[in-house]
């Protein structure tokens, strides 16, 4: 199925033909053009990936096809969207009446959206929401619609379809909800399915399952798919053809292999160069900075240099975490007795050395963020010890704890939410300096702020600006400058690059590595993204359900993964290489919940050392399948 020739040949006329489509927002005299004269065809039964970064206009394009932009304040300023409804009938959706559009929406063209957590209406049952489409377009009565809804749920491989029909969305996990969305979209056998970043918000193992389902059903039903994504790995796994968009323009188009093998447009080349590729450091023991191609006013420019990150000093650890346990009480009886606990972190132990990056990887509910917050003293641990520079955190005085807050800094995932919008970035960066009383003189503080801004690649005069005046990547640089302000020894980076576009992500990763070398910083790098982990980390700890299941050097864990969960995690990552055989491995199963009834403590894994410094949890044979 990886062979494009095996797909229905494109002898037919296109199913959808987008011709010079332009979409505008805002009033007519000061309109912002989000999509500029974009043209492409979608052949029946084939998958077209529309790729681009934020602001490229890819999502607007997808909404404009069904004229859903009408509801977001958008206006189609020109062009045609020709949809071949049947052999005889081709419609221009730009000119179609509202009633015709309503007949087509959900019936001939269906759509899946990015956020499965918010795509389903919280107040109606799953069954109701699927049946609705069927009664509307196929005129089924309630009983038949329910039967069909059940079949559809089985089709997307949801167990217990019967019971699920009467469940509400909040009772389902994100992966299950996205399957329900797919079932809903495919209810009326649409000819075209538009999927807007359908797996971006999901964990990698769940993403792999969802991609498999979409691919299988597409083959079974012969549906054409437009796949909107920013993830080149997903493109390589899913697409037959690719359209690359940049700032509202289509800059390149072609079969997926050609785009990857011989990208023509400079932007496509820049985009591909920035994509982190799993396995790119195979055989190399240390992380490595590599240059990134960025677009500088339409011209590609190479920034950075190749540099091996030999910064770690393994003489004495800076941070020692021993049997750290963090639990939260949830679920109380009428009389306030605790019935359930979240076992977020269970007896986790690891060390971090000066100048070293330890990556903590895992999916939702693995407890990785809880560890970061515990170290930052935002959460009290339930048990275990944390030593920083040899001192036990629990035995520290108030003053020492404050000092620890200065030495351990945190960079959050969302650079927008973690900067106060009402203060200048200069103020935000100066705050830790003032709070910790590092510099007293006002002028000296200003100088220090300017210095920090320069260190993270911004201009000194940026200090006077407000967060909204910066792009996402620049804001994350500001957050890094703020973290550096108190001259920390350890920085906890919690999904700090996950929300950024790949080209920005690559630059921020390089910046973090550069700063590490210059200041001998240690990083605890918390993430779910295996490809970024490979690039940045010296050692890796894999977390699953609150416990570390595998820990070792990056090379050992990536090249010789021992635990079944590590292997599963690695195999689930979409690889940005269309030449590669497409993943046939079936990953099944949900991530179990860390919530347990009181009294049912989880079993603590015993670890064995497979090679020096590479520890793996011993799996009970019956657990092997479940993990």
């Amino acid at each position: 199925m990886s062979d494009t020739a095996a797909k229905p040949a494109s002898v037919h006329a296109p199913l959808l033909s987008v011709r010079s489509l332009s979409v505008e927002f805002g009033s007519r005299d000061s309109a912002f053009r989000a999509v500029k004269e974009v043209s492409f065809d979608v052949m029946p039964g084939r998958t077209l990936a529309v790729v681009g970064e934020s602001g490229s206009g890819k999502s607007v394009t997808s909404l404009a096809i069904m004229r859903l932009t009408d509801y977001t304040g958008g206006r189609i300023a020109g062009g045609e969207v020709l949809f071949r409804r049947s052999e005889q009938e081709t419609l221009d959706l730009v000119k179609a009446s509202d009633s015709t559009l309503r007949e087509i929406r959900g019936n001939d063209i269906a759509m899946i959206f990015q956020e499965p957590m918010t795509s389903l209406n919280p107040v109606f049952t799953i069954g109701n929401q699927i049946s609705e489409t069927l009664t509307l377009h196929e005129g089924l009565n309630a009983r038949d619609a329910r039967l069909r809804a059940k079949e559809l749920l089985q089709k997307v491989r949801l167990p217990d379809a019967d019971k699920l029909l009467d469940r509400y969305p909040h009772q389902l996990s994100g992966g299950m909800r996205q399957r329900v969305m797919i079932a809903m979209a495919l209810a009326c056998n649409p000819k075209l399915l538009i999927a807007d970043e359908p797996t971006t918000a999901l964990d990698v193992t769940i993403q792999a399952q969802i991609l498999n389902i979409i691919r299988d059903l597409q083959q079974e039903m012969g549906t054409a798919v437009i796949f909107i994504t920013h993830d080149m790995g997903v493109v390589a796994e899913m697409a037959d053809d690719v359209v690359v968009m940049w700032k509202g323009d289509k800059v390149e188009q072609g079969p997926v292999r050609e785009i990857f093998a011989a990208p023509q447009h400079p932007y496509t080349r820049a985009l591909l160069s920035a994509v982190p590729r799993l396995g790119s450091l195979k055989g190399q023991p240390l992380p490595k900075r590599t240059p990134v191609i960025v677009m500088d006013g339409g011209v590609p420019k190479q920034v950075g240099e190749t540099h091996v990150q030999n910064t770690a000093d393994y003489a004495k650890p800076i941070l020692q975490v021993d049997k750290l346990t963090t639990r939260f009480d949830v679920g109380k009886t009428f009389f306030g007795r605790v019935t359930h606990r979240v076992h977020a972190v269970e007896e986790v132990s690891f060390d971090i050395y000066p100048g070293e990056t330890l990556a903590l990887v895992g999916e939702s509910g693995s407890g990785k963020s809880t560890i970061g917050r515990t170290l930052q003293q935002l959460i009290e641990p339930t048990g275990g010890t944390v030593r920083f520079d040899g001192r036990d955190m629990a035995a520290m005085s108030q003053g020492e704890r404050r000092r620890l807050r200065q030495e351990i800094q945190y960079i959050f995932q969302d650079p927008f939410a973690s900067l106060d919008p009402r203060h200048t970035v200069g103020y935000s960066i100066a705050e830790p300096i003032i709070v910790h009383g590092l510099i007293k003189d006002r002028k000296a503080i200003d100088r220090r702020v300017q210095e920090l801004l320069e260190q993270v690649g911004l201009q000194p005069q940026h200090a006077k600006r407000y967060p909204h005046e910066f792009s996402g990547g620049q804001r994350q640089r500001v957050c890094i400058a703020r973290a550096l302000a108190s001259d920390p020894k350890l920085i906890i980076a919690d999904e700090s690059v996950s929300a950024l576009d790949v080209s920005i992500q690559a630059q921020i990763v390089n910046l973090l590595m550069e700063l590490q070398e210059r200041r001998r910083l240690s990083y605890l790098f918390i993430t779910h993204d295996m490809a970024v982990v490979e690039k940045i980390s010296h050692r890796v700890a894999v977390m699953y359900l609150g416990q570390i299941v595998e820990i070792g050097t990056r090379q050992a864990v990536f090249e010789n993964p021992q635990h079944s969960y590590t292997r599963k995690l690695l195999s689930a990552v979409p690889i940005a290489d269309p030449q590669r055989e497409r993943a046939e491995t079936r990953i099944e199963g949900e991530i179990p919940s860390p919530v347990r009834p009181v009294g049912q403590e989880p079993a603590i894994h015993r670890m064995r050392e497979v090679e020096p410094g590479h520890w793996v949890a011993i799996e009970a044979d019956q657990l092997r399948g479940a993990a």
Binding site: L68, L101, P122, T133
Partner: protein
């Protein structure tokens, strides 16, 4: 759910206790009913007043009076009016239905007006229907209710002569009092519906509903409205209290024979038992309505139900 209702009922008992205590205490600070009963006549001796107080049981310490009042409530006996000796329960039984009828009519009229108007304003955000609705609601908010009531009487009864100016004599006597209350409620409710709908309409599931090909009516009134209902229902629960307060004034203007008139007269006459009785019953209703609101949350939103 049963545990939840039980908890709320326990809370309700405390609320009613607190309200009755405050009311009983406060009214005793406001004047001597014995003096009021004698009508301020010239040749009243202190002994006469003392006799009246004795007869009404007012010479006892406050806590004894309060406890005997509570004791009475438990068996449904609110005592007798100081004026004429009619049992308070009889007075309330007469007044309560007309007040509730007026309150619920006003509320229903307000919901019937504010929901479609609010939805319409939200859908047309920033365009002229939205602006118009917002301006009108601001105008509605700015009217004091008594002034609005008097203006209505002036227009409909005196100038046009199509509606009776006061009393409760048939469906047409409902129009003005109910409308007065409804206009004031609607002015705030429209804004609430609009804001809440705007929030809901920006949700992803609304776009999903549109992508299914559903008609606007279904998207707005099935998918969006129920998700916007929680703030509205909450507010109506809170509004019920001020609605009762407003009704005292509106009943006064339209001479409506309800709880408001009863309470008003009781205050002027220092008729302790009547006032205590009416306030207690009204407080019970406000607590009950808010209990219903809490139950309604669960019916509207399954996420609250399973908590």
């Amino acid at each position: 759910m049963a545990g939840f209702i039980l908890k709320r009922l326990l809370q309700a008992i405390f609320v009613v206790l607190a309200v009755t205590l405050i009311v009983s205490f406060a009214i005793r600070l406001s004047g001597d009913p014995a003096v009021m009963l004698m009508g301020g006549g010239g040749n009243v001796t202190e002994q006469d007043l003392q006799n009246i107080r004795q007869a009404l049981g007012l010479e006892r310490p406050f806590y004894v009076q309060y406890l005997s009042f509570l004791q009475g409530i438990l068996v449904g006996d609110f005592g007798r009016s100081f004026m004429g000796g009619t049992p308070v329960s009889t007075l309330i039984a007469h007044a309560l239905p007309s007040t509730l009828l007026l309150a619920f009519t006003s509320l229903l009229v307000s919901i019937a007006l504010s929901v479609p108007l609010g939805v319409y304003a939200a859908v047309n955000r920033g365009r002229w229907p939205d602006q118009l609705i917002r301006i009108l609601s601001l105008v509605g908010l700015s009217f004091p209710n008594f002034w609005l009531a008097i203006m209505m009487v002036l227009l409909f009864s005196i100038v046009l002569g199509i509606l009776p100016p006061s009393g409760m004599e048939g469906p047409e006597s409902f129009v003005m009092p109910a409308l007065t209350m409804a206009i004031i409620l609607t002015a705030t409710n429209v804004r609430l519906v609009r804001t809440s709908m705007l929030e809901t309409l920006s949700q992803q599931y609304i776009m999903v509903a549109r992508s299914k090909g559903l008609a606007d009516r279904v998207v707005l009134y099935k998918h969006a409205l129920r998700n916007s209902a929680i703030p509205l229902v909450t507010y109506i629960g809170l509004q019920f209290g001020s609605l009762i307060g407003g009704i005292v004034i509106v009943e006064r203007v339209f001479n409506w024979p309800g709880m408001g008139t009863l309470a008003f007269d009781a205050i002027s006459g220092r008729d302790y038992p009547v006032l205590q009785g009416t306030i207690t019953v009204l407080a019970l209703f406000i607590v009950l309505i808010n209990l219903l609101v809490d139950i309604a949350y669960g019916l509207i939103d399954p996420r609250i139900r399973t908590e």
